[in-house]
């Protein structure tokens, strides 16, 4: 690579006009080829997005009717909707986020305000980042081992716990990043007024970082709303209406998984509708998160 640069930069090569010209042509041809390939790569990436969304609209929209939101899942051939799955998903996502967010917020605070440069802080940051990308199916297995098996079987609350474990590292990441962006002068001003450290964090730093933290929470909701693998081993899924948190609970992703793999046409159709709902819900949350973050850059 540096050889190319050297030959082109040394005037010796340029003394022979034909050599210089062919060299220049070759360099610019390579440039054009790579540029074209990059445009193509971006086009391919966008085509995937359009293809997935298009398929969902095409196959999901045709099955969208009011019954999807008002009826329970029913045996194949008898219609039915996704009401129990939608309700179960909403409940588990909300409770899971409600458990995970305060913990993640405190961990982020700890990393940014208390543990800068300490050994423990670095360990927590590293582990949290690893958890952020850890396979979610293993979090399901983990909750199964420590929660489901010892405490009497599959339950909605176990599903919430699994989702909370996924929420924590996402909130940690954004909270720490946002608190780090807050100027020290702001904290010093609070301290100068005689505020104890916790008050300066809660009443000065949190409000200043609010949009960033809200972004993290929205992204966390979007992430866990579509999680399937951890729920397979925790809340299991339920084809009946159930709001009992200690019983197996239905969820949209698990229902999609069961229905999409079934040989019944109406179940597959419902799976597409569910897929459409969940994808556009998740994408809407993502776009909302971006809009929330924008005013503060």
């Amino acid at each position: 690579m540096s050889a190319t640069l050297a030959t082109t930069a040394i005037p010796g090569g340029a003394r022979d006009p034909s050599v210089a010209q062919s060299l220049s042509r070759r360099r610019h041809r390579a440039n054009v080829i790579v540029k074209t390939l990059c445009v193509l790569a971006t086009a391919v990436g966008l085509i995937f997005l359009v293809a997935i969304l298009g398929t969902l609209l095409w196959l999901g929209f045709s099955g969208l009717r009011l019954g999807v939101f008002t009826e329970m899942t029913k045996p194949p051939g008898s219609g039915g909707g996704l009401l129990n799955a939608i309700a179960g998903s909403l409940i588990q996502t909300i409770i899971g986020t409600a458990i995970g967010t305060p913990i993640g917020l405190m961990v982020g605070t700890y990393l940014s305000e208390y543990a800068k440069g300490t050994y423990l802080g670095n360990a927590v940051r590293f582990v949290s980042d690893v958890l952020l990308s850890a396979p979610s199916i293993l979090i399901g297995l983990f909750v199964y081992e420590v929660f489901v098996e010892p405490f009497g079987g599959f339950s909605g609350i176990a599903g919430c716990v699994a989702l909370a474990v996924i929420v924590i590292p996402i909130v940690v990441r954004t909270t720490e990043d946002m608190l780090n962006l807050i100027p020290t002068a702001l904290r010093e001003a609070a301290v100068a007024l005689g505020a104890p450290k916790w008050k300066s964090i809660v009443f000065v730093c949190y409000p200043a970082a609010l949009s960033g933290i809200a972004t993290g929470v929205l992204l966390a909701i979007a992430r866990v709303a579509g999680e399937t693998a951890p729920l397979l081993f925790t809340s299991l899924g339920n084809l009946n209406w159930s709001l009992d948190m200690s019983a197996p609970m239905s969820s949209l992703p698990v229902t999609i998984y069961q229905y999409a793999g079934s040989p019944f046409e109406d179940w597959v159709q419902l799976a597409w509708v569910g897929a459409l709902l969940i994808t556009f819900g998740v994408l809407a949350l993502n776009i909302m998160a971006r809009v929330v973050l924008r005013p503060r850059g």
Binding site: H28, V34, V107, Y114, A134, K197, I278
Partner: protein
């Protein structure tokens, strides 16, 4: 300052809780897998059987499937991701960067079950009807690598799984690469342009060498995702406990076998223990990959 002490105490406790969760994941998977490790010994890693009738379980096939699909996915995704990151940082007109970047990031937000379903109903037929027969007719005839592209074209299998995985991890790698490319100081690039370099030469001789470690870190991050992906793979890999020489052959991965076999594994059974042992192995593999990724990315992307 009692309030301060309490607040700091809660914050520290939550920080420690994260460490506890990780340790608890490792320990619970290991303890759960212990009966299987005891029953099969080190042979668990090399045994290719998965036989519920004879109660013999081995990890070799799922481990092979996990690694081969993830590596193939990386091979497919990295060139595309690089192209996208290059386009977004150097080539695209300024007003176009934000919308395209957002679109690529939205691809990362689509839940994995949607990729699985889409792959199963859309990509599998395309692979089976067009791509695989084409590859069998062309590459299948080539000596040495021909064996990789033979066999019946079902549409499912290792290659299809790798393709779906590649689409899934593409946005993660592309976004990381874009972010690290943006960390290159403008003066470096400007001086290269100043001596007459083309855009591609600036990328190859300035940007890539400057960001090499972080780029590898981004790739490892994608690899970590691909290793543990469950739903997308389960739909399209064919779920057969067999190592086939052809990339069109069916197989399984640790995550897919756990998801599929779990419902038929009663609590306390040797089968469940084997699944937990597989989970432990997956955790070890992805932990190593993610740790390397974090280490490489630490210097550049920490904001």
């Amino acid at each position: 300052m009692l309030g301060d002490k309490i607040f700091a105490g809660i914050a520290t406790a939550c920080g420690v809780l994260v460490l506890v969760i990780l340790s608890a994941i490792i320990i619970s998977l290991f303890v759960g897998g212990l009966p299987a490790f005891r029953a099969f010994g080190p042979g668990f890693l090399t045994n290719t059987d998965w036989d519920p009738v004879k109660q013999v379980y081995g990890a070799a096939v799922p481990i092979y499937g996990t690694l081969i699909t993830a590596v193939l996915a990386i091979l497919l995704a990295v060139p595309l991701a690089f192209g996208i990151a290059f386009y977004l940082t150097e080539l695209a007109p300024q007003w176009f960067r934000q919308p395209v970047g957002t679109a690529i990031e939205l691809l990362a937000a689509v839940p994995s079950i949607i990729y699985g379903m889409w792959g199963f109903f859309i990509i599998v037929p395309i692979m089976g009807d067009y791509v695989q027969p084409f590859l069998i007719d062309t590459l299948g005839e080539v000596p040495l690598i021909g064996a990789l592209f033979q066999g019946p074209a079902f549409g499912t299998g290792i290659l299809t799984s790798a393709l779906i995985l590649a689409i899934m991890i593409l946005p993660f790698i592309a976004a990381t690469m874009r972010d690290v490319f943006l960390t290159v100081p403008g003066v470096f690039k400007e001086s290269a342009y100043g001596v007459g370099c083309t855009t591609w030469e600036v990328m190859r001789s300035i940007v890539l060498p400057y960001t090499r470690a972080s780029v590898v870190g981004g790739v490892m991050l994608g690899l970590g995702r691909a290793l543990g992906e469950t739903m997308a793979v389960t739909f399209v890999i064919g779920n057969t406990n067999r190592i086939s020489t052809s990339l069109f052959g069916p197989g399984n991965t640790i995550a897919s076998i756990v998801a599929l076999e779990f419902p038929e594994s009663p609590a306390g059974s040797l089968k469940l223990s084997s699944l937990l042992a597989l989970g432990f192995l997956l955790f070890v593999i992805s932990f190593i990959v993610l740790a390397i990724s974090r280490f490489l990315l630490r210097t550049k992307v920490t904001k």
